[in-house]
């Protein structure tokens, strides 16, 4: 306990009084942040990490009740803050950076106006100088052509640029503490790396950072100390180095294990070709989304398709699945033509080819129970329960509606439904991206097990190279609608041949666990 601590929290509790129920989001959290330090709070969704961070700036949310035996910021007792004090404190002492600048910046105002607003509120500099000052701030966060960008709206900027602009607006008030709540979650790996570099730069410049993330690997690169939160409590608090070399709490160990990756290799040799796409090309308007893509998937094989957003990987999935007709090229499934034929001709093959989407919730008819959803995929009269057991679900989810399930449970139901008709190929489009890391690992295990036992082939699409590395046998790297590199996972990851692949790999945050 040093006297110089910038933030000092003791027994912080945040309770939400909602109509008809009360939610204890944070249940007694204590920590300190020293000046110049970078502290990270890590936890899965619902762990209370964001609420904790927002309580520090008095924005825990509507209906929140904040209690603490001690809540000191900059040496002042924040528990006694009047609204005016909070306003002076926000932006001036602490800047807040939220996830996804597309919605965290006002979409109806220009980036420049957003930055100038902070300057205006905190009276930094004369009115006439504000525009120029905003330009300088944008320049500081490495936004090229700041004059032009300042006049643009968030949607006109790329994800990386607008996240930078958001950081610039948080820095505009000259805060001593920068709170970044999942600052990179919505971004592609390469961009994520750039933003992390930018934050590291701020840190080096003396800024105090509080990072919130669900991904231990992301913050490990930056943070001095990590607080691991679970169910509203801090379960472990240690320096990053200590944590990685040996965590105490089983939950932390689980997180570390999930982040460090594990190969799930198959022993079986790939069988005959199940699906084959040749010279696929899809043009929307005058934009070619997919260009000359060849994909072959064999029985019992897991093929990874990796690429950043906009690379055309979802279109490839839709082409293979027969939802979209290719502009040119051909898809064959189980030896028969699958593209360029009427849906009637595809229908007999349909049950042999299944699909798992990123968001299982929207993949279920909201009015159907789990029982009905899965039963639809099974031959009439077949029991549903054994199948659910196979994907690790109890019988008590049978009569629930999809909305009443957790994300992991939903994805398991989706898998159960997909494997029910014993397909020869399942196309998985980002099936684990929306899941917490610990759940991710379980779902990947499940998928690998199914390949093992049923010999089902998987076409696995993901932006996350880590996941591909852990699961796939072969990988195709998609960039601008083209396959820039392909080959066995090991080979591609160890000796990337294409410049783009190298960049992708470099950007992947990894945990260097020194056991």
């Amino acid at each position: 306990m040093t006297e110089s601590a910038l933030v000092r929290v003791e027994d912080l509790r945040v309770t939400f009084h909602l109509p008809r129920r009360t939610v204890e989001a944070v249940r007694g959290v204590s920590f300190e942040i020293e000046p110049g330090e970078c502290v990270a709070i890590v936890g899965e969704s619902g762990s209370g990490k964001s609420v904790t961070a927002r309580a520090l700036v008095g924005l825990a949310g509507p209906g929140a009740r904040v209690d603490a035996t001690r809540l000191e910021v900059d040496g002042q007792d924040a528990r006694r803050f009047a609204p005016r004090d909070w306003r002076r404190f926000r932006g001036g002492f602490a800047g807040l950076v939220l996830q996804d600048a597309l919605v965290s910046l006002d979409p109806l105002r220009t980036v420049g106006a957003e930055i100038s607003e902070v300057l205006r509120v905190h009276g930094r500099g004369p009115r006439s100088a504000r525009t120029e000052q905003a330009h300088r701030l944008l320049e500081e966060v490495h936004v090229p052509e700041p004059e032009r960008r300042a006049g643009q709206y968030p949607h006109q900027l790329s994800g990386g640029l607008r996240q930078r602009a958001l950081i610039a607006s948080a820095l505009a008030g000259g805060p001593r503490l920068l709170i970044a709540d999942e600052p990179t979650t919505a971004l592609d790996a390469t961009v994520q790396a750039q933003i992390l570099t930018l934050l590291a730069e701020r840190r080096a410049a003396g800024e105090t950072l509080l990072l919130i993330s669900h991904d231990l690997a992301v913050v490990a690169r930056l943070a001095d100390r990590v607080l691991v939160m679970k169910d509203g409590r801090i379960v472990e608090s240690a320096t990053t180095r200590a944590l990685l070399s040996g965590a105490d709490h089983p939950y932390t160990r689980q997180l570390i294990a999930a982040g460090s990756g594990r190969r799930r290799v198959s022993t079986a040799e790939p069988g005959p070709v199940v699906a084959e796409a040749t010279a696929l090309r899809k043009v929307y308007g005058d934009r070619a989304v997919v260009r000359d893509v060849d994909v072959t998937v064999r029985r019992g094989e897991i093929v990874g398709l990796v690429g950043e957003s906009g690379s055309g990987k979802t279109t490839v999935a839709q082409l293979l699945f027969g939802l979209v007709e290719p502009t040119s090229g051909q898809v064959r499934f189980e030896g028969r033509r699958f593209s360029g034929v009427p849906e009637r001709a595809r229908r007999p093959l349909r049950r042999r080819l299944q699909f798992i989407a990123q968001d299982p919730l929207s993949a279920f008819d909201p009015r159907w129970t789990v029982r009905r959803i899965v039963a639809e995929a099974l031959p009439r009269g077949t029991a549903v329960a054994p199948l659910l057991e196979r994907v690790g679900l109890d019988g008590d989810v049978l009569d629930r509606y999809p909305r009443q399930l957790s994300g992991g449970q939903r994805q398991r139901v989706a898998i159960a439904r997909a494997i029910a008709p014993r397909p020869s190929l399942i196309i998985c489009d980002e099936p684990v991206s929306a899941l917490d890391v610990s759940v991710q690992a379980q779902v990947l295990d499940l998928l690998a097990g199914i390949r093992e036992s049923d010999g089902t082939a998987l076409l696995f699409i993901s932006h996350d190279l880590g996941v591909i590395r852990d699961l796939a046998d072969r990988v195709l790297v998609l960039h601008d609608g083209r396959v820039v590199e392909q080959g066995p996972v090991q080979a591609v990851f160890d000796r990337p041949g294409h410049e783009y692949t190298r960049r992708l790999l470099a950007a992947v945050p990894t945990l260097e666990v020194s056991a």
């Binding site: 699945f321 939802l323 849906e343 595809r346 229908r347 007999p348 093959l349 349909r350 049950r351 080819l353 299944q354 699909f355 989407a357 968001d359 929207s362 993949a363 279920f364 008819d365 909201p366 009015r367 639809e376 995929a377 509606y401 909305r403 009443q404 439904r417 008709p421």
Partner: protein, 283 residues
């Protein structure tokens, strides 16, 4: 020319009513509906004229006073429930039925058919409800039947738009795609997935549409285009009583307040149902 008109009804919904309010509204509607089914249980003859007791104020004998022909205003209001509510219900049924049909066809058809239907609905909704109903009445002549059809037709665009939009969403929803994955035929998709999910919010909308229909009916009857005298229709009563406003406010104001109470109750109950409907899915 695409403009998604928000249903004013949905806007009217934004009110959280305490439970006693919901209970009161439900009770009121129950009474009104009972009155519509068997009005003789509640009040006397709405047509019995009594020239000796014309335009008398509210009293123990005549709770709502008497009108220009000495008829009991309360009896007329109660019996009027049958006219006003059944006009509203019938018109809403027409609107909902046709709206669903048009909306579904538009939502499911290919671009040209959808475009044609949607444009027609657009053109139809180019007209203010009252004007549309007026036009229809100009064709069919005033009377209960034309009033019902006029309001029904006038409200079609509302429902057609909602259903079309909903169909669009549902049709492109991932779960419909997944049904494709099981080789489901088009008809099966529509019947098992699209239709039930499109129709889900319709009953709630219909309740709100009903209040719209009743208000519109009252307005048109006010202009003398509804059920013909001596039928005790609420709007017509307000209109007839208007001429005696200085000397007998009750003849028009009391029926008016009953209309207001009915609409409020419908809104409150509709809103409550909607919250329940949404709540079931979230819980």
């Amino acid at each position: 020319m695409t403009i998604a008109l928000t249903r004013p009804g949905t806007a009217r919904l934004n009110l959280r009513v305490p439970r006693p309010g919901v209970a009161a509204a439900t009770l009121f509607l129950a009474v009104a509906l009972t009155a519509a089914i068997g009005p003789s249980l509640f009040a006397g003859d709405p047509l019995a004229a009594d020239p000796l007791h014309v335009l008398e104020g509210p009293s123990g004998r005549h709770w709502f006073g008497t009108d220009q022909l000495g008829r009991d205003v309360f009896a007329r209001v109660v019996h009027g429930a049958r006219h006003s509510l059944s006009i509203g219900v019938a018109a809403t049924l027409i609107a909902v039925g046709s709206g669903i049909l048009i909306g579904l066809i538009a939502g499911l058809s290919h671009r040209i058919a959808d475009e044609a239907l949607s444009r027609s609905v657009d053109a139809l909704s180019a007209f203010p409800l009252v004007l549309l109903a007026l036009l229809f009445i100009a064709i069919a002549g005033p009377g209960t039947t034309s009033l019902i059809v006029a309001i029904g037709v006038a409200l079609i665009p509302h429902f057609a738009r909602v259903v079309r939009a909903q169909t669009f969403v549902v049709r492109r929803a991932a779960y419909v795609t997944h049904a494709v994955a099981f080789g489901a035929a088009r008809s099966r998709l529509v019947l098992r997935h699209v239709l039930p999910n499109v129709l889900g919010p319709v009953p709630v909308l219909a309740v709100i549409g009903l209040s719209e229909a009743i208000l519109l009916a009252a307005g048109l009857s006010f202009l003398g285009l509804g059920p013909q005298p001596p039928s005790p229709e609420w709007g017509a009563m307000i209109s007839e009583g208007r001429g005696y406003l200085h000397i007998a406010w009750w003849a028009s104001v009391l029926p008016g307040l009953v209309v207001t109470a009915t609409i409020i109750s419908l809104t409150v109950v509709g809103r409550f149902c909607q919250r329940r409907f949404e709540g079931r899915e979230i819980a």
